[in-house]
Symmetry: C2
Subunit: 294 residues, 2 copies
């Protein structure tokens, strides 16, 4: 089966026992958050790395991929909350808090985090060592001090190291996807380290570019948020042209870092397509809104 | 070493790797949330049950107890947020969001949930079956459809079954403490099921009583919240005297449910003391504030 469809099926199956008997509005909020038209790049990356490594534990690979997407969806719910980005729109639809209220948005985020760890934990007895390592990589990707939570928290500090901030806020979950995929595939995760960090930084640079140059209806979310929230942005630091070059350098570095393996071509294709889809379609220049806010 | 001190040490050790390199304000928020003078009843219960069952996996027992307290502290952070109870005071100190802002409060809650699962996951290879079962019991206690998250979400529904609501919002984490303790101790968790639900309901009835009769400075948090938030309350449903009787019945049922085991007396003592500490010190009557709000 196509990887995208396998992931959709696995996400559906992961929510089914949660939604069938939980409070109905929470169930709606969970489905709204998870089935919102995402690209599923992180779980596809996880599965592709697992296959490239020999697919030793396929059940663990799909559980890890599913958990990573659930954690990603949770992080988007929090990102959009009034106290963070205060974004009413996500992927062209109302953000979870806009559709269901802040209480259910926060609870849905919590439920997704717990479900992600629960899902992978279910495989502990069939492959203890590998499942333990996957759980550790998930925790590292989303918790503190290395994961999304810490990355987001750097925004509350008076001084930020841009690279450390991006690495935790965005890179850590890509790194978790790659490392968990390598572990579940039976590979040596050390050979894959660093790849996720580069992907994360590339994603963040692209996101900064789209934020500074995009149009809200193209992106499905509000733009100009970095300037509004005075967040560190690669476009501010490097200029638009410099940011495009940096993005290209990072993708090239990612491709160089992919070890020699049977699935190398598939992975290069996946990463290149993804990078292409992230680049802003518009000419790279700073719109008046951002210029006046900076 | 005394159980209380063992738990304090374990909590300290669990936060140390998180706080030593995470954003400084997040580290402060985490310590504020966890070291706030709680009674640690849930982790003490978990350890007491593990010991009563033979203490087969002491490392797993203390990890489970610590995880349960971290999850409890996370739930208190969320409870106090403006979109839930909007409580500025907790245990006589500023609530986490009041001291550090909503962003860091939410992030601290997330970090505690992730750390709880990470901590227990670290023992997967040494005791795969038991660790897997403990992880499942934690997820059941805090996630959806059975745990705190679902319990809290019932408050957003137009119709609520009071018992199902209390069972998920409060009982589930007590049940997790008991079940995880039994598993880590090497006992048969089935023999302990139901005990946590009764404890949770007793706690909730006591909390409703204290909310309706207490004084803010005695409790270290605002009172009259059930009426303000129009939440279902045992005092509303049974009257103050009926609620006191219900609380006593529940504690008696808990004591009857404790299986015959070497540590039975210790457990009875722990539960009785805890129940005593929860009862409101004031005469049970509804203060004017609540009466006028109802």
């Amino acid at each position: 089966m196509d990887a995208y469809l396998r992931i959709e099926d696995a996400l559906e199956a992961s929510l089914q026992p949660v939604c069938e008997s939980c409070p109905p509005r929470l169930a709606q909020a969970l489905r709204h958050a998870v089935f919102a038209g995402g690209s599923r790049f992180r779980p596809r990356l996880c599965l592709a790395v697992a296959e490239a490594c020999g697919d030793a534990h396929p059940q663990l690979a799909i559980a890890a991929a599913t958990a990573i997407e659930l954690l990603h969806c949770a992080s988007l719910i929090y990102d959009d909350l009034p106290c963070f980005d205060d974004a009413a729109i996500r992927r062209g639809k109302p953000a979870v808090h806009a559709a269901f209220g802040e209480e259910l948005a926060i609870l849905a985020g919590n439920a997704l985090i717990v479900r992600a760890f629960e899902l992978v934990s279910e495989l502990v007895t069939s492959a203890p060592l590998h499942t333990g390592l996957v759980l550790a990589s998930l925790a590292r990707g989303v918790g503190a001090p290395h994961g999304i939570t810490a990355g987001q928290a750097w925004e509350s500090e008076p001084r930020i190291d841009l690279r450390a901030y991006h690495r935790a806020k965005t890179g850590a979950l890509f790194e978790a996807a790659v490392v968990a995929g390598a572990i579940a595939g039976g590979g040596d995760a050390r050979g894959w380290r660093g790849l996720g960090d580069h992907l994360g930084e590339a994603y963040q640079v692209a996101d900064d570019l789209r934020d500074a140059t995009g149009q809200s209806d193209m992106l499905g979310k509000p733009v100009g948020q970095d300037a509004v929230h005075r967040r560190p942005s690669a476009v501010d630091q490097l200029g638009p042209g410099g940011a495009v070059n940096r993005m290209q350098d990072l993708i090239n570095a990612v491709i160089r870092l992919i070890p020699r393996c049977p699935g190398r071509e598939t992975l290069v294709f996946l990463v290149s397509n993804w990078a292409q889809s992230l680049m802003p379609a518009m000419p790279v220049s700073r719109p008046a809104m951002v210029a006046s806010a900076s």
